[in-house]
């Protein structure tokens, strides 16, 4: 293809029109790059279409001259698509750096095509155009990374919320006896949720005894102890007696060494002990059925 560009046109303009003209060829080459190929596994046409959309966006941005601006309006039409692609790659196990590399891999085929445009690839104008295109693709890389990080943060937030909901069930162990098996680290947000759901359960079940089982809590520091004591105090205000169970020997030692006073809290070694205590306080006796009395 002969070099028929207007010699006075600026490099971004030239690159913009190049992208527009060679859209089909670039898209075909990109569709074979690992970024598009691994996302659009069903059909190659789909990958070509997606590539075209990105080429169009880049051409828009080039013409607008905002080469290094990741917020350029030209990216808006493809932002969602890029988001879906990065999410897809991330789910497949690609790291953000890996995704960035895949975007960078789009440069070589594009630059090669651009060089072919010029009769003399070493001419200053050609060099400038290659530089512009490189800059543009660098910005695309940033845009892709940005969407990838956004999607990651969104996912973490969603999972945190789910964890919060899942990790605090209140179980009815017996009539008027409820238990909360605490699993994982107890921070203030979680202890708030635990407290709320426990108090609701106390009202609902008309519970006299509430057992907080901390078998699944890995460490107890002064902050966690404070949260526990708050929960115990709140349960007491609701007229229920609170028992903390599942204190492992190592944790008991830590509590003593930290000088945390749990004296006002009723404790038992295991959930079974706590339940036995609650039952006996309610005058319920659990005994082995006598073998002889098992009448047919």
């Amino acid at each position: 293809m002969p070099h028929d560009q207007d010699a006075t046109a600026s490099a971004p303009q030239l690159v913009g029109s190049f992208l527009e003209r060679r859209r089909e060829q670039i898209a075909q080459r990109w569709a074979d790059a690992s970024l598009f190929r691994s996302v659009f596994t069903v059909s190659r046409d789909e990958a070509v279409e997606a590539s075209k959309a990105v080429v169009d966006a880049l051409s828009d941005v080039a013409v607008s001259g905002r080469l290094e601006d990741t917020t350029a309006p030209g990216y808006e039409p493809v932002r969602e698509q890029l988001g879906r692609m990065t999410q897809n790659r991330a789910r497949a196990g690609a790291t953000p750096a890996g995704i960035a590399d895949e975007v960078a891999a789009l440069r070589t085929p594009t630059v090669d095509l651009l060089r072919e445009e010029f009769a003399d690839p070493t001419a200053p104008q050609a060099q400038e155009c290659v530089l512009t295109l490189t800059l543009l693709l660098g910005t695309l890389r940033l845009v892709v990374l940005e969407t990838a990080l956004d999607a990651g943060a969104e996912m973490i937030e969603r999972q945190r919320q789910q964890l919060l909901e899942v990790a605090t069930p209140v179980i009815k162990l017996w009539e008027h006896t409820v238990a909360v098996p605490l699993i994982g680290t107890l921070d203030s947000a979680r202890s708030q949720v635990v407290m709320e759901s426990l108090l609701e359960a106390i009202v609902e079940q008309r519970a006299r005894y509430a057992i907080l089982d901390i078998t699944g809590v890995p460490t107890v520091d002064s902050l966690v102890a404070q949260h526990l004591m708050k929960t115990v105090a709140a349960a007491r205000l609701m007229g229920a007696e609170c028992i903390v169970s599942g204190i492992r020997p190592a944790i008991a030692q830590t509590i003593v060494q930290l000088g945390i006073d749990l004296g006002s809290v009723l404790t038992r070694a295991s959930l079974a002990d706590a339940l036995a205590y609650a039952l006996s306080r309610q005058g319920i006796e659990v005994s082995r059925a006598q073998t002889g009395t098992n009448a047919r």
Binding site: Q192, M195, E196, L199, E200, I202, V203, R206, A207, R208, K230, T231, A233, A234, A235, R236, L237, M238, G239, A240
Partner: protein
């Protein structure tokens, strides 16, 4: 403005149920009301010789340090007059607020509702 002055001025009704006095707090308790309630209650405990007082706060949305102190004082006064006080019907939200404020009402016996409070008093009275 005329203040209604009944024979026994008791803006917070105090009901006698056998051996127990029942107070049901509704809404906000102003300083004047609180003082009147304290006087009224101690008078009633002394004259009737009841063994227990149940304070129902299921109709109370906010318990602040003032109300907390009033409740603790009522309990202490009742104890001096040989009556036990049980606080009944605290809402979960109120309990959480109190705990966050560090007001855990240490001297007070608590119960889920009035029914349970009566139970507690009859058990301890035995």
């Amino acid at each position: 403005m005329n203040e209604p002055v009944p024979v026994h001025p008791a803006p917070v009704p105090v009901l006698a149920l056998g051996d127990i006095l029942l107070v049901s707090l509704q809404g906000e308790l102003h300083d004047g009301l609180a003082e009147q309630l304290q006087q009224d209650l101690s008078h009633r405990i002394a004259t009737t010789g009841v063994s227990g007082v149940v304070i129902d706060i299921s109709g109370v949305d906010i318990v602040d340090s003032f109300l907390g102190r009033v409740l603790a004082e009522i309990a202490s006064t009742a104890r001096l007059l040989a009556a036990r006080t049980v606080l009944a019907g605290m809402r979960p939200a109120v309990a959480i607020t109190l705990v966050e404020l560090g007001l855990v009402l240490p001297g007070l016996t608590t119960a889920l509702d009035v029914d349970r409070a009566m139970e507690v008093l009859s058990q301890r009275g035995r």
